[in-house]
């Protein structure tokens, strides 16, 4: 019964999304106030119905209702309860329902919070989001119904969730990513509303900015979590693979980063209007493309847990309507001769423009690398495989340029910039000297290490210098610090995060080492400055797996620093699929990463030991970037504006 309620709620949610898309739009066309005002109610109704549907599906998973096809496919009686819940989005249908739930959530949030936004704008925004929802709900109902049942031949037990996904990182990674993807629909909807109304002043940018920041912060967290998960779960110690699905989430992130900055220029200076509109359209389009790439059979990758080519055409059609429609609207309604405020060659505007160009170039590089093999193959120009060497060669210079400009940007002012030379001198020299010396901390000096470290340190020192400069007139530094705006601190935090991540990537890429050891119980071997002692193995039993756990002690200078317990697990319900659980001694400056290989007989095992310096800095950087974006949203400026506009 519960799955039927869920299915019915989903059908009703589809109806409410149709109303949400249609009625306020009609109200806008007719200038009818009641119809415009109905948008809020439909948004909340849709939210309630999708929630009911989601809860019903969650109940089916938690109650082991294997008559529901996707429960039988993705869950198992032995699966721990929290993974039963997250198994919901372990496959195609369930992850779509999560997408729709999040979209409904964002829509309801816009409906509830935007009291200061003119009713006509809000109605068009909500209607646009409703139209996106119509697309996804109909896709679900007609091609991928999560509530499909197998009542006659109900299996006794399910096939279990892919063991790779049975992990806390995977519990939160997809929702975070989806929060980000879907969040860009808000900026998109505001851009559409601005185009529809033909009112392309700074106001739409001001309304869309906090939403965009939040969406981008979530996407940052999602990507960071994905990288972290791949690192400890896949057992190779890698943290980024330039895999098509990673790229699919990275492209909207890069365009989103450009959008976050471009919105600032549009709001503050009224410049780059058309550019910002296009970025808003593309950030969301690329989010949809990300969904398309994962869900269709066109590109396959490590991630295609739920690929199904037959659904591809539907998504493609939907994508075509959304992108084609919005770009047509742009072509017809965007201002022809945009008002161009003047600014000097070195000004905040020009630096942000350069930053935007670099970010968009980076997104194009990723797009090209992902689609190039497909295009060349289709045109019969040969088979190509584009791998990490291409991405690294193209991406590293762009990232360096971006880091340099970001640092400069923090000292710049609108229109024209003074004192730039004096301000940059200290951080530049300091970063240069430190970067030249610092590589010795990890062994042999490498020029690439110095280069990467320089850009990372430059970002950090420039941020600090900027704070010092901003607080120069305060009585004490602390009182000055307290007076700084949250939006400014958010920027500093995000830019330091960027620097931290650059340093992490540089050092872990150049100074990681890996040793494969044959170890019998009682053996001890030296790896770098560490001593690895293998104490033996013990059997270990989990709820849905059995395995072997190694006991490895890590010693340094005769003192034990960590006990590592790597495991080999055999998951019963998945045809005894074998998984490696790495034992990791995480540290601020380095990770020691131990994975069990195979038993070699006589209680000896192959043991793989990785030394990963600064690997945590990559994710720490990601977290700081996300935190910065969120801090900026909490700036009281947005609250003040809201008050003023309400009055």
């Amino acid at each position: 019964m519960i799955p039927e309620i869920g299915h019915f709620a989903l059908v009703l949610a589809f109806c409410s999304s149709l109303l949400l898309a249609g009625v306020p739009a009609l109200g806008y066309a007719l200038g009818h106030h009641t119809l415009l005002a109905s948008a809020n109610r439909f948004a909340l109704l849709q939210m309630a119905l999708v929630t009911v549907s989601f809860v019903c599906l969650a109940a089916a998973f938690l109650r082991d209702d294997f008559s529901v096809s996707i429960v039988a496919l993705q869950s198992n009686t032995q699966l721990p309860a929290h993974y039963k819940f997250t198994a919901l989005w372990g496959g195609h249908e369930g992850s779509l329902l999560l997408w729709v739930l999040i979209l409904a959530g964002w829509t309801a949030a816009v409906a509830l919070t935007g009291k200061h936004i003119p009713i006509a704008v809000k109605a068009v925004v909500l209607s646009t989001m409703g139209a996106v929802s119509v697309g996804f709900l109909s896709f679900m109902l007609f091609t991928s119904n999560p509530f499909e049942r197998e009542l006659i031949a109900t299996p006794a037990d399910g096939q279990d969730l892919n063991p790779l996904l049975q992990d806390p990182g995977m519990v939160i990674h997809p929702p975070m990513l989806y929060f980000g993807y879907v969040g860009f629909s808000v900026a998109f909807a505001f851009a559409i509303a601005a185009l529809v109304r033909g009112r392309l002043d700074a106001s739409w940018a001001r309304w869309a900015r906090p939403w965009t920041n939040i969406a981008w912060a979530f996407l940052t967290v999602g990507i960071t979590l994905g990288s972290w998960w791949a690192y400890y779960e896949l057992g190779w110690g890698g943290w980024w693979f330039w895999d098509p699905v990673e790229n699919a989430s990275f492209m909207p992130w890069l365009v989103g980063a450009a959008l976050v900055h471009s919105l600032a220029v549009t709001e503050k200076r009224g410049a780059f209007k058309n550019w910002t509109l296009l970025l808003a359209i593309f950030a969301f389009s690329l989010s949809l493309l990300g969904t398309f790439l994962v869900r269709s059979g066109v590109l396959t990758s490590v991630h295609s847990f739920a690929a199904d080519p037959t659904r591809g055409l539907y998504i493609l059609g939907f994508l075509f309507i959304v992108i084609g429609g919005s770009l047509t609207l742009y072509a017809l309604r965007a201002p022809e001769s945009a008002f161009r405020p003047t600014f000097a060659k070195i000004s905040r505007e020009s630096l942000l423009l350069a930053n935007n160009i670099l970010l968009v170039c980076a997104a194009l590089v990723v797009l090209l690398g992902t689609l190039f093999p497909l295009i060349m193959d289709y045109l019969d120009l040969g088979k190509y495989s584009v791998g990490p060497p291409y991405f690294n060669a193209m991406f590293v210079p762009l990232a360096c340029g971006l880091a340099l400009l970001t640092g400069l940007g923090m000292f710049s002012q609108w229109k024209r910039t003074r004192d730039l030379k004096t301000l940059v001198r200290e951080p530049l020299v300091l970063a240069l000297i430190t970067a030249l010396v610092l590589p010795f901390a990890w062994g042999e000096w490498q020029w690439l290490a110095s280069l990467g470290l320089f850009f990372g340190l430059w970002l950090i020192f420039a941020s600090v210098r900027s704070v010092v400069h901003q607080t120069r007139n305060a009585a004490t530094r602390l009182s000055g610090l307290k007076r700084l705006k949250l939006s400014y601190l958010g920027m500093i935090c995000a830019h330091i995060g960027f620097g931290v991540a650059v340093m992490g990537v540089t050092v872990v890429s150049l100074y990681s080492s890996e040793r494969d050891l044959r170890m019998a119980a009682g053996d001890a071997l030296d790896v770098g400055s560490y001593r690895v002692e293998f104490r033996g193995t013990a059997p270990v039993t989990g709820p849905n797996y059995a395995g072997t756990q190694g006991d490895i002690r890590l010693l340094r200078g005769g003192r034990e620093v960590a006990q590592l317990l790597p495991e080999k697990r055999r998951y019963h319900a998945r045809g005894d699929q074998i998984m490696t659980e790495a034992g990791i001694d995480a540290g601020f400056l380095r990770d020691m990463y131990v994975a069990l290989g195979e038993p070699l007989g006589d209680s000896a095992w192959a043991v793989r030991v990785h030394y990963k310096p600064l690997v945590r800095w990559i994710w720490l950087g990601g977290a700081l970037v996300a935190l910065g974006a969120l801090l900026a949203v909490m700036d009281k400026r947005y609250r003040l504006q809201r008050l003023q506009e309400e009055v």
């Binding site: 895999d243 066109v298 490590v302 195979e598």
Partner: protein, 185 residues
Amino acid sequence: MGRLKLFIPLFVFLVLAGLFFAVETEVSEGEYDPKALPSALIGQPFPAFTLPALLREDPVDESLLKGKVSIVNVWATWCPTCLFEHPFLVDLSERGEVVVFGINYKDNPDKAREWLAAKGNPFAVNIVDESGKLGLDLGVTGAPETFVVDKAGIVRMRYQGGLDETIWQRRFVPLLEQIAAEETL
């Protein structure tokens, strides 16, 4: 003129969309597989080789592939997709429909042994192609790739990319049935 410029993004998108549509239509109709690689080797004998085997003392040569229908899977421990298709290969070899041989391609044999001990060994024999010479003869561009070889040792099909049940049923089973039918004639 200014208005025309604003149509540029739409135009670029339409070109890309047209391309995508063409690709996607053929993919869903099964006419075109972005992962299918044409191979000059189809209908030709499997290239000659004499190479060590992973878990055997003696080296093996191309005669290994004669006398039974087999699939030859090119894999390596450094290849992420191999990790994902591995459970399927284990499953396939247990079903016993077809003999599964492996070519451990440009890999470290110790790591390969470790991998097989850890994840199960679906391969009847594993040819060690550490230098990638055999892979070169086969025209391998990356791992994983899978070849179908008939009783006469003739290469009948090449498939690039990871295997799973769907791909197996759609791409391999019809050919294997056809080969079986040829033999009964």
